[in-house]
């Protein structure tokens, strides 16, 4: 039986339509340009007003290994990972396994040159003769594989009912000012759509209908949003060393700076340095922060470990710095292109001795942008390194979000003394707690006053910044730094708390896991009412203890093996430690609502 005959074979009658509620997994070979095709699909749904989210599940490799793109279409607006209903099988090496992973009633849309595709009676199969559809198209050989991927875009457009003009708009948005590329790609989409219309019969229940749920929203990656936030936070010096998944943060930052940060003469009002390693990147950031410029670096776990010594220095010498840690899977090189929340315990106390850092946890595009600028205010107000913990899922994937609110507050530069202020005060002691909040005053190099200078060192010092090994000087200094950390509790963003009036059970989480948890919470509303506290920063404020106190049990859900945040919260809330339960998940993939629901129900039944 030919592929076409097989496809046309009698299948069960189509079930009730499933409209705007399904997941697609596109399985392709890394390096074949499938990202264009996948983003075209994503943007097409988005343009039709349907909530959508895409996750790139890719290998640490340039070409040849398997890669998947998961698109979730959800009329209800859920964006967490959901196992696929529809498979685009364009990778021969994974096709068998991918097909077996589909649920009954699923769809397999496959490239006709795939051999030995497993045949299941409970699936709908649609062939796509991608190579044949390119026949006669005059494009360079090297671009043919890229264009072949557009064939599944056309076939899916037919299958789901996506208007071709929407696909054209999505393509045009992607290839601004490159009409030839738009036309070539669109031609393949049209051919595939026409071929499918003429040769296939729709057997599956999935389709889309335009909605009005994405009007006014933007589609962006978390790394782009964070970088844009940093630009509106006044970042002036950025130094980094390439590492996935932080690289796209710096690429975006460089682009936005070049566009947005120039003086009247057109000169840049910023400097970006690709450092020789993460040690140097951290040193550049501290040097710039010390001298009065807002400075940041972006890295991931392995890079963060190299920055530890400098961050310890920054904490002790009290120098503002911002570090974006786009978390990936460890330990060590781990799974470098997969997501986790495995750095939180390490980041919180990054350094040696008694070191503690404020940490911000963005969980959406809006928070990536907001924390992008707010991190600088905090770092300068507190005169200390501030870490922003994002992750690969949030950072590198495309998310929907509301357009960002322009920062409502002016830049907060902290306690910096000018020459005039020094004159009035008759000098200053660099490390003296004048205001009782643990935050001393500082001067910037270049301040034209004979009393401005002080000496910065990572070794013991007294209030006048002189070297000191006196026990009372050290004890006073460390006590003040602890006091400053207490001040940080008031300055960092408070958690987002959503209480359910009947909930006996609470959930605490942070970052990108919120989407799976929110979906699980909604679906469990009748069966197991849940309150949700989304932590937005460390150190915690009083809200967290109050939240735990108000519930019988509180589950801390996170993407790491050992329940790192759970450990931190138990230590910070010893009086509530018995109520805090860990639900930790780690296999490299983003969390699903199904896992959260199953685990919560299982735990609660056992409780």
């Amino acid at each position: 039986m030919s592929v076409l005959e097989r496809a046309q074979a009698v299948l069960p009658a189509p079930r009730e339509p499933i409209v705007n509620d399904f997941s697609i997994a596109v399985a392709t070979v890394n390096g074949t340009g499938s990202q264009t095709a996948n983003l075209t699909l994503l943007r097409s749904f988005f343009r039709l007003g349907i909530p959508v989210h895409g996750k790139n599940i890719f290998p640490s490799n340039i070409q040849g290994l398997p890669t998947w793109y998961h698109i979730r279409v959800s009329r209800e607006g859920y964006v967490a990972r959901k196992p696929p209903d529809i498979l685009v099988a364009f990778n021969p090496t994974t096709a068998a396994e991918d097909v077996q992973g589909l649920p009954a009633g699923g769809v397999c849309l496959y490239a006709t040159d795939l051999k030995n595709l497993p045949q299941r009676d409970d699936l709908v199969y649609y062939p796509v003769p991608a190579a044949e559809l390119l026949a006669g198209l005059e494009v360079p050989v090297k671009r043919r594989p890229y264009l072949a991927n557009m064939a599944y875009v056309g076939a899916l457009a037919w299958m789901l009912g996506v208007p071709l003009e929407t696909v054209a708009e999505a393509l045009a948005a992607q290839f601004e000012q490159r009409p030839k590329l738009v036309e070539d790609n669109l031609e393949v989409v049209r051919r595939a759509h026409a071929w499918a219309s003429e040769n296939l019969r729709k057997q599956d229940p999935y389709r889309i209908e335009p909605m009005e749920k994405t009007q006014g929203l933007i589609l962006m990656t978390g790394n782009e949003a964070g970088a844009l936030g940093a630009v509106f936070g006044g970042v002036s010096v950025a130094a980094w060393y390439p590492i996935t998944p932080a690289t796209s943060f710096m690429d975006a930052l460089r682009g936005f700076l070049s566009e947005l940060r120039r003086d009247e003469a057109g000169r840049p009002t910023y400097a970006v340095v690709q450092a020789e390693d993460e040690l140097a990147a951290a040193g550049i950031v501290l040097g710039a922060g010390w001298a009065g410029a807002r400075a940041l670096t972006a890295t991931s776990g392995p890079g963060l470990s190299l920055m530890a010594e400098f961050m310890s220095y920054g904490y002790f010498a009290e120098i503002p710095a911002v570090i974006w840690d786009i978390q990936r899977v460890g330990p060590s090189t781990g799974l470098p292109t997969r997501t986790s929340q495995g750095d939180v315990a390490f980041a919180y106390t990054l350094g040696h001795g008694d070191t503690k850092h404020p940490i911000l946890f963005p969980s959406s595009l809006e928070e990536c942008f907001e924390f992008g600028w707010r991190a600088f205010d905090l770092a300068e107000e507190l005169q200390t390194p501030v870490l922003v913990l994002s992750d690969l899922d949030l950072g590198m994937n495309h998310w929907m979000g509301r357009p960002f609110a322009y920062p409502a507050e002016p830049l907060k530069r902290g306690k910096v003394l000018s020459a005039e202020a020094l004159e009035v005060r008759g000098g200053f002691a660099r490390y003296k707690d004048v205001d009782g909040d643990g935050i001393p005053y500082r001067t910037l190099p270049g301040t034209p006053h004979p009393l401005a200078a002080y000496f910065t060192r990572g070794s013991g010092h007294n209030e006048q910044a002189q070297y000191s090994e006196r026990p009372e000087d050290y004890a006073r200094l460390m006590a003040r730094l602890a006091r400053k950390f207490e001040t940080a509790r008031r300055l960092v963003p408070p958690p987002a708390v959503e209480l359910h009036p009947q909930a006996r059970i609470g959930v605490i989480a942070y970052g990108s896991t919120r989407y799976a948890i929110e979906e699980a919470r909604d679906r469990l509303r009748e069966r197991l009412p849940l309150s949700f506290l989304r932590l937005r920063a460390l150190p915690i404020g009083p809200e967290v203890g109050e939240f735990v106190a108000a519930h019988e049990r509180v589950y801390v859900i996170e993407l790491n093996r050992d329940g790192q945040l759970h450990g931190i919260l138990r230590a910070e809330l010893p009086e509530h430690a018995a109520k805090l339960r860990s639900l930790a998940y780690l296999d490299g993939l983003p969390l699903t609502a199904a896992w959260v629901m199953a685990r919560l129900l299982e735990k609660e039944e056992a409780a």
């Binding site: 566009e259 947005l260 040097g287 401005a452």
Partner: protein, 344 residues
């Protein structure tokens, strides 16, 4: 107390004493102290405003030095070997500051070799002084990467490895001002320091600065005795400030060379060695290797190239980034809207 410090104010109204730092805690007779005193002298003579100077260091005996000069300047005692990155950040934040970095041979030649080389690649505008004694003093007597092969030290034994010549490393890395001197040769150190402060990019001064405690036997090439007996200057140096009229002493033509520095000052070189040309990169490398092979201790301006732009020039920086007004740091709401439109 015997008063030797001239109290006469310089052009910016400061006496030499105003350039002092804290009392040194280094060993009595340490070469680093004499370098610190030359920095004080030079800063006074060049009329530097202390608030416009930053002094940076890494970790080690040498790196303590910045505490001992220019007490009215901001100082930064960084991590071991990683002062270059801190200096890079500080000078990107404010490229109008004058930076004096002090490092040691362990700091620069071992843990910091990577940062040192990359500092030179980027050509940060700063004076980078290596107080080089071939030994780790603060950890009490281990060999550093610049210790000569075969050197015997009381605690460390015999050094089996060849030294890293930091001047060669600097020249190879593209540094435009590379000089070697000897802490016991105060005049040469002083003139080189002045010229280094006027250079457009990174100026490396590798100053042999004997360790009186762990490496001062006369047969050690980094001891006082050896330096005093074997120093072989390539030229006599004289610094001519920008405002001063340049006069060529009546010497045989060809013996005197004037090197114009970035700020309009000049370095007058009277060649002691026939036809030594400090602008010839290959010649400088050859001469250093030749000296190494012969066990010679040559000093002076080894290599000079004023043409490479400094990092701040490459970056095209105008107003110091640390002094930007808020309006230049945060673009307006309309700019944000314009960006977001592209993502809708």
């Amino acid at each position: 107390m015997k008063e030797t410090t001239p109290l006469k104010p310089n052009a910016v109204g400061l006496s030499k004493k105003d350039y002092d730092g804290a009392p040194s805690t280094l060993c009595k007779g340490c070469g680093h102290n004499s370098i610190a005193s030359q920095i004080v002298q030079v800063a006074y003579e060049l009329n530097l405003k202390p608030h416009q100077v930053i002094k940076l260091s890494g970790i080690g005996c040498s790196s303590k030095s910045p505490a001992y000069f220019l007490g009215m300047s901001h100082g930064f005692n960084a991590l071991h070997g990683r002062m270059p990155s801190v200096a890079t950040g500080a000078l990107l934040a404010n490229h109008t500051l004058k930076a004096i970095g002090v490092s040691g041979d362990g700091d620069t030649g071992s843990i910091g070799l990577g940062q040192f080389k990359h500092l030179l690649r980027r050509n940060l505008r700063m004076v980078y002084i290596i107080e080089n004694n071939g030994v780790y003093g603060l950890t009490k007597g281990q060999f550093s990467a610049t210790a000569e092969e075969g050197l015997r030290l009381k605690y460390a034994g015999t050094n089996p490895f060849p030294p890293i010549d930091l001047c060669l490393e600097a020249i190879v890395a593209g540094c435009g001002f590379v000089a070697r001197s000897f802490a016991g040769d105060a005049r040469q150190v002083r003139e080189l320091l002045k010229a280094a402060l006027s250079h457009r990019g990174t100026a490396v001064l590798d100053i042999i600065s004997p360790c009186v405690t762990f490496n001062n036997e006369d047969d050690s090439p980094k001891s006082y005795g050896y330096g005093t007996q074997h120093e072989k200057p390539l030229h006599e140096l004289g610094f001519v400030p920008p405002a001063e009229e340049i006069s060529i002493e009546p010497l045989t033509p060809g013996e005197v060379r004037l090197v114009e520095l970035h700020d309009g000052s000049h370095l007058r070189l009277r060649n002691l060695e026939e036809a030594y040309d400090p602008t010839d990169q290959m010649g400088a490398i050859r001469r250093l290797l030749d000296a190494q092979a012969r066990g010679e201790f040559i000093t002076g301006l080894l290599y000079y190239n004023p043409h490479r732009p400094s990092l701040a020039e490459v970056e095209g920086l105008g107003t110091p980034l640390a002094q930007l007004p808020p309006a230049l740091m945060r673009p307006g709401p309309e700019r944000l809207e314009a960006v977001l439109r592209r993502y809708s």
